[in-house]
Each structure stands twice: as C-alpha cells, then as structure tokens.
C-alpha cells in the first residue's frame, strides 16, 4: 500500500513539474504577441512611461485607427490578399498534381526526377535569385504580382510536393483500382479518390503556404517598387523612422497585430487537420 502511494505521489509531483514547464514555455511563446496587443492598446503616454506597466491603465483604440489611416493600410491588406490567395491555391493545385504523378506513376525515370526534386530543396535561394530577377525584368514584370504568384502554380515548392507525395503513397492503391474498374481515368481518380483522402496534408500545405506568402518580406521587397502595390510586410516599414528618426511602435504594433489576426484565426480553425497532416505523413529524412 505505502509503496503504491509513494509511486502515485511521485507521479503527481512529476506531472506538476511538467505542467509548470509547459506553462512557462507557453508564456514564452505566446506572451510577445500579448505584449504586442497591450502596447497597441495603450495611449502614447503610457507606453513610454517608466517603470513599465504590463496592463494598460487606459485602453484606447486610437493607435489602431490612426495607424491604419497613416499608411493607408487597407491598400496593403488588399494587396496581400491579392498575392497570398492565388499563390496558395496555385500551390495546392499544382503540388498535389505533381505529387500524384510522383506517387502513382512509377515509370523508368521517376526515381531520377524524384532525386532531382529533393536536390532542389538544397539549393539556396541566393543562387537562383539574381537570374530569376533578371528574367522577370526582361519581361517587364517587375512591380507586378506575377513573380510572386506564378512560381506557386508551377509546382508550389519542392517541400510541399514531397509532403503530399508521401501522404498520397499512404493511400491504398485498391481505392484507385476500384475507381478504375468503374471506368474512371487518372484525373477522375485524382479528384474523386485522392484529393478527399489527403485533406489533412492539404490543410497543412495550405496553412504553411498561406503563412509563407502572407508574411513574405523578401520577394515583395525586390519585386515591388511602387507604394500602391506594396504588401503588408513592406508597408509596415513605413512606420520606421518616419517620425523624426524614431519608430512609432504603438501605431506600428497596432496595425501589425491586426495584420496577424487572419493568420491566427486560420490556424486556430484548422489546427487539428494541420497537426494531423504533418505528423502522419511519415516524413522520412
């Protein structure tokens, strides 16, 4: 009896310790975002008040409204949506098509091309960056959204193809064959059988792709030159050193927080599928 109790006591103590660590880490990972919100809600006088207070004494929404108007944030938001949504759709469509090809059609050279696919993941962006820029420049597509969207429709990234291919390979071929016997061609099998089965992986790819395109800084930085075309990532830069050399953090954090809300909502909405998509693909290094 006493041995059982002491073991149970040990277990409870250990669980308490684990929960404490979990909560501390949770604070570490989430608090900065909360701090962002609190700073945004404080009137200007409070944020620069020393000693710092965590909670705002007076909650104000003026930072949000002022910040939004100062840089015409609506424009940036619309632009970001105009870039991110087509790019994500393109990624989902093309990556799944290519992954289907890799997974189901094992012809003589398929292994070679698959190794090629994996190899491209190792090429750093700097190598292809400059020639790619020069290509777009020659076609006069600088300052358009084409360089930001088109690549997503041509495969959507090696990693995404790889992820989806692993997932598709896990679907039993008997399902394909049953459909085939019913007279389906390969494309119908793709739409009717494969796509519904890989929903978790598609969700994962969709979210990763959305996060990537929504937050992308580098590509808009080099390809967009006129203010009316800027995305949120570039637009936030306007808050830096536009007030006599000092960044107005409050306006910036307020507007930035708003720009993060769609992503946070999307993730919270899809998190179960997302985690499932990543963890059950059997990503083999």
């Amino acid at each position: 009896m006493t041995i059982d109790n002491s073991i149970r006591g040990q277990k409870i103590a250990r669980n308490i310790v684990l929960y404490v660590i979990l909560v501390l880490l949770c604070i570490y990972f989430v608090f900065p975002l909360i701090w962002m919100l609190f700073t945004a809600l404080k009137p200007v006088t409070e944020a620069y008040e020393l000693p710092l207070r965590i909670l705002p004494r007076h909650v104000t929404l003026s930072n949000f409204t002022r910040g939004w108007r100062e840089v015409n944030f609506s424009r940036f938001l619309v632009n970001t949506i105009l870039v991110a949504v087509p790019a994500v759709i393109g990624t989902l469509v093309s990556a799944s098509l290519v992954a289907y090809g890799f997974s189901r059609f094992k012809v003589r050279y398929s292994a070679f091309f698959f190794s090629l696919l994996l190899a491209t993941m190792m090429i750093p962006q700097q190598i292809t960056l400059i020639p790619t820029y020069l290509i777009w420049s020659r076609f006069h597509l600088i300052d358009t959204y084409v360089p930001l969207i088109l690549p997503s429709w041509l495969g959507g990234g090696a990693f995404n193809i790889f992820l989806l291919r692993q997932f598709i390979s896990g679907i039993p071929k008997e399902l394909d064959e049953a459909a085939f016997i019913d007279g389906a061609n390969s494309f119908q099998i793709y739409t009717v059988i494969i796509i519904p089965c890989i929903r978790p992986a598609l969700t994962a790819v969709g979210i990763m792709s959305m996060v990537y395109h929504w937050n992308d800084f580098f590509s808009p930085l080099i390809y967009l030159t006129s203010k009316k075309n800027f995305t949120i990532a570039i637009g936030l830069q306007f808050f830096q050193s536009s007030y006599g050399g000092n960044t107005n953090y409050q306006l910036m954090l307020a507007v930035a927080f708003v720009s993060l809300i769609p992503l946070i909502l999307l993730f919270l909405f899809c998190q179960r599928y997302f985690i499932q998509g990543i963890t059950t693909t059997g990503i083999k290094g």
């Binding site: 880490l25 290519v98 012809v107 962006q125 190598i127 429709w153 041509l154 394909d176 929504w214 930035a256």
Partner: protein, 293 residues
Amino acid sequence: MYGRRGDTRRFFLYLSPWLAGFAVFTAYPFIYSIYLSFTNTTISGSGRFVGLGNYIRSFTREPLFLQSFGNSLYYVAVFTPLSIILGLLIAVLLNRRLPGINFFRSAYFMPYITAGVAVTMLWKWIFNPTYGIVNFILSLFGIPGPPWLNSPDWAMNTIIIINLWNIGNVIIIFLAALQEVPAHLYESALIDGASPAKSFFHVTLPMISPKIYFNLIMTVIFGFQMFTQPYVLTGGLGGPLNSTHTFMLYIFNTGFKYSEMGYASTLAWILFVVIMLFTQIFNLSSRFWVFEE
C-alpha cells in the same frame, strides 16, 4: 491499373507544372548564375565578361566580404545546435500524453504562424534598451540590461535569441518523429532495466536520428540565408559596426542596392560552395550517427 501503357505519358503530364517551373526557375537560373558570376552585369542586364575578377576581388578588396561571412558563420554555428537541442527537448515535452497537451502544441506553434516583419519589429520593441520589457524585467533583478541591438557585441546574439523563439517548425518535425518510434522498443528497454535517460539515448535518439539529420541540414541552409531579421532589426546597413551584416544582406545590397548583379552572383556561388561543404561533411559523418532502417 498502374503499370499499363501510357503511364509514362501520364507521369510527365502530371509532373509538367513542376518540370516547367524547374526548367525556368531552377535549372536555367542555376546555369546562368555561374556565367553571371564571371561578369560585371548590372541590374539592367548588361555586362561584360571579367573572368575570375569577381572572385579575386571578394577575397582581396572587400573587407565586408570576410566580415559578412564571419557573421553568418557565427550565427549558423551558434544558432543551429541551440535550436536543435531546444527543439528536441520541447518536442519530448510535448510528446507526453498529458490532458490538454494539444493546447500547448498549438500555442507553441504560434510563433511560426505569426513570423514575419510584424513580429520582428515587435522583438525590436521588446529588446529596446530603454522601454523594452526585457531590460525592465532585468532591472527588477538589479541587472543592468545591455543595449541589445545597438551594441556590436550583443546585436547578433540578440538576433539568435529572437530566432530561438521561432523554432516551431523544428519542434513539429521532432514531434512527428518521436511519435513514430515504435512503443515496443521502449518496452523492451524497460524490461532490460533501462532508466528513462538510458532509453532516451539508446532508443529515442537513434530512432529519430534521420530527422535530426534533416533538421540539421535545413537549419544550416536557412541559417546562411537569414535576411529579414538583420534587415528589419538593424537596418539594411549591417548594424553596429557591421556586426549583423550577414552574407545574405551582403548579397542583397550588392545586387539590388549597388546594382552589381555579376558580383552578387559570385558571392552567391561562394556561399553555395560553403553550404555544399557543410552538407557533405554532415553527409559523411551521418554514417556514424544516423541510424537508417
């Protein structure tokens, strides 16, 4: 149904988007950039062949070259092991079947979801020497906070600390790997009298070593490409005494600010060779510690 006639045609049909993209955006630029590295092409696309001039120039007439390279190397050398170890430990923690663990898993992924310019600026505010919350908390303990991003000694380390917040992708890959380790291996170890620590080192680590290898290589490759943080946190100019002037920033400024696309391609290729060296070293060493089934 697979393995019939016409499958080759179908294979290439389904791969066609990627094949087209590969040809235009990977293969052609790859080869063209080699050529560019031997020219002095500008942003307008015109330039002349200069042979090895760019390469020689980088080593002899550009002090910023060595400094940028050193900065990036420092970052990779410090950040990579820290992120992998920390990521693994957190994944182990998250792997437990405690009630409510899913909430924590989602919470720990928040940084990855929100990563970008917005959050980077947030961190600049958090590490602000006067009004930032980090120095405030330190002052509560009587520790005078350093000037963080304004100090040549601390700036790069601050970036490393900030990026350690962002290791959600590492965590999730480790989490997936941990969940794939067959339970019976742990049971056998337990029967053989292994302590939790022993089973971690002799069962867990070997079984997830392929993912450690994957994360290692990916972290190194992305580490050399880090751009947003140095650019946003310390301005496009490289920070205090150029301490945060990473190699990627160097390439960017060279190509897009100073318009020297030929020289920038040279730099990109030197970096690529270095990354390949790293990858090869990891590859060769993998025989000794990566366990393939």
